[in-house]
């Protein structure tokens, strides 16, 4: 029952919040529900870390015939992060999103999306994963266009188009897999497909699933929907998307290509390594050439997705652990930076680098707050980003992929360049068209600053005790690379005849 809670709670909340969407209390209810998700996620994480993979068979149908929910360390950690992301983004949305948009069901959609994301993290059934992808997609479509103007409609069009193509590839891949192995349960598939990676049907379905997940994760060459759409909706929505959507793609690749398909298939690793390298470089260059806050951040996300995907492309235990640690580092830091960008845009009335400025005089504390996620994303020691990048670069050097390791370093230099430019533009450059004397101190609403403080303290927490977080990541990587305990937990009687 506990395993179903991270899915049932947001979905129930979505229904309740939609009915109460005009009530002044619904925002508080929304925050309580999201906060509760964090607590449930933590309980699941600790159970999984202490006793190994947790399993729940839905409706009493034993695997592989029913739908199984499985939580190992990775799933538990991701569910916790999803709860934290929803909680902080929705807290920011309380002030940012107006009542008109709330009356259309903003909070309900956000919770439905979180439910879909948690479902994708917890399910042990590949067709069920497809269904959760759809739940997540359709809610994210809604969030993207809600209360929308021309910009949002335009961004959503590209987002919807590419994601629908990915969805069809996913569905076809699942169909092929079922035709080959006659099962949909991931643990069962793992047993049935052992040693059959060379078969055309298996490779074909692996290719289709790889394309579908890569499109969802925004990997080269199917990343262009992300910088076309992430800067158009509300800032809280951007932050929530940055935390959850692409990460579901990365998570699915990590899960499916270690459990169902054997890791270490040269075709898959070669393609992924190439795609990762280009993604890292293109994302960083795109960010360096963009002139708007959230456009820069969007390209930065793309570049970092390339680094996370290296976890599977390199395939070593350190690389996998590094990728999971990268989740821990990237999600709070990126969300914090996007929300701070939102504050800057609120004060200056624009997101364009040439129309913002003068904020150091107005609020130096805002600048200090800005530096935490910014320096962490660049990778300045001792902040969390330094450790995350250290693990990934070390893993790529150990695998003797020096070019990829060098690319991560180069991308960090570029990150320093473009995020530094954002900082200079927002804080040190005089605000265009405004007299210095006119600039008054800024006092943003407490509920706008509180989520940023929460996220910054998470970043600082990871920075101060990276070892504790790396241990969780290491455990998750161990479980990914040795799926036997996972399979035994799902199918205690072994493979059915």
């Amino acid at each position: 029952m506990l395993l179903a809670a991270p899915i049932l709670l947001p979905l129930t909340s979505a229904v309740v919040l939609f009915l109460l969407r005009r009530s002044p209390w619904h925002k508080l209810l929304s925050l309580i529900s999201a906060g509760l998700s964090v607590a449930i996620g933590l309980v699941i994480l600790f159970n999984a870390a202490a006793d190994g993979p947790q399993v729940a068979q839905m409706g009493g149908w034993a695997a592989p015939y029913g739908i199984t929910l499985v939580a190992d360390t990775l799933s538990g950690a991701m569910v916790t992060i999803a709860g934290l992301a929803a909680f902080t983004a929705l807290m920011y949305a309380v002030i940012e999103v107006d009542d008109e948009t709330n009356a259309l069901g903003f909070h309900a959609l956000a919770h439905a999306m979180t439910g879909g994301v948690c479902g994708a993290f917890l399910t042990g059934d590949i067709f069920n994963l497809y269904v959760w992808f759809e739940v997540m997609l359709i809610s994210s479509f809604g969030l993207l266009v809600i209360g929308g103007g021309r910009r949002q409609i335009d961004g959503a069009m590209k987002y919807v188009a590419l994601n629908l193509v990915g969805t069809i590839a996913f569905l076809t891949g699942v169909g092929l897999l079922y035709g080959t192995a006659g099962s949909l349960n991931m643990a069962d598939l793992s047993l049935k497909l052992a040693g059959r990676m060379g078969e055309t049907a298996v490779l074909g379905s692996a290719g289709l699933l790889l394309f579908a997940f890569a499109a969802k994760a925004a990997l080269f060459p199917v990343f262009f929907w992300l910088p076309a759409s992430y800067h158009t909706p509300a800032v809280a929505t951007s932050a929530l998307f940055s935390a959850l959507l692409t990460k579901v793609g990365v998570y699915s690749i990590l899960r499916v290509f270690t459990l169902i398909f054997e890791p270490g298939t040269p075709a898959v690793e070669g393609v992924l390594l190439f795609a990762c390298a280009i993604t890292i470089a293109l994302g960083a260059m795109g960010a360096a050439s963009a002139g708007e806050l959230r456009r820069i951040f969007s390209f930065h996300i793309v570049s970092q997705i390339g680094v996370m995907m290296l976890g599977l492309a390199l395939g070593s235990k350190l690389a996998m652990a590094g990728a999971v640690f990268y989740f821990f580092h990237h999600i709070p830091a990126m969300m914090g930076l996007i929300l701070l960008g939102g504050l800057v845009a609120r004060e200056c009335g624009s997101e364009r680098l040439d129309r913002i400025g003068g904020l150091w005089a107005a609020g130096p504390w805002l600048g200090v707050l800005f530096l935490i996620p910014m320096l962490s994303l660049i990778g300045v020691p001792p902040l969390s980003g330094f450790w995350a990048k250290f693990f990934m670069i070390r893993a790529s050097f150990e695998a003797e992929h020096y070019i990829v390791g060098g690319l991560i370093l180069m991308a960090s230099v570029l990150t320093f360049f473009y995020l530094g430019r954002v900082f200079v533009a927002a804080f040190w450059q005089p605000r265009p068209g405004a007299d210095v004397a006119e600039i008054t101190p800024v006092y943003p609403h407490r509920l706008l600053v509180a989520p940023i403080l929460v996220l910054a303290s998470v970043t600082l927490g990871i920075s101060l005790s990276p070892e504790a977080f790396f241990q969780i990541a290491d455990r998750a990587a161990t479980e990914l690379l040795d799926p036997l305990p996972y399979i035994r937990a799902v199918l205690p009687q072994g493979e059915p005849s």
Binding site: I168, L171, L176
Partner: protein, 129 residues
């Protein structure tokens, strides 16, 4: 039976891909619909084509009789059709709204989110330079 179905799926995918390459969003959407139906057919074929009886369990019995067709692919397709239909309706209304906003259903004419004259960071610094 399988070869005929395989060829049908191939033709549908080819036609759908051709339509999806158009910059006209309505044509793109038609292509998408055709391909999603091809995917459903492929899943159907994956469940093996047999001349089986309906998968019905007799009253009082716990298992279906011998020789029933595989019901699982049909359940999967049914789910996929429902989901695909929902997505199609949403996308259609989005295209309609885009047409109302931009006066065109051509994706080349939609440059609002990524304008051609996007501010370049070099010029973006204004007086600070």
């Amino acid at each position: 039976m399988e070869p005929a179905l395989a060829i049908t799926v191939g033709i549908l995918v080819a036609g759908g891909s051709y339509l999806m390459m158009s910059s006209n969003l309505i044509r793109f959407l038609f292509g998408l619909t055709i391909i999603s139906n091809a995917a459903n057919l492929a899943i159907f074929a994956a469940g093996r084509m047999t001349f089986g009886d309906p998968a019905l369990v007799a009253e009082g019995a716990k298992t279906p009789p011998e020789g029933v067709a595989n019901a699982l692919p049909q359940a999967l397709i049914l789910t996929a059709i429902v989901i695909g239909f929902g997505l199609l309706v949403f996308t259609l209304s989005l295209v309609l709204r885009a047409y109302a906003e931009f006066g065109t259903a051509d994706s080349a004419g939609m440059r609002e989110a990524e304008p051609r004259n996007e501010p370049e960071p070099e010029t973006a610094f204004g007086e600070a330079r």
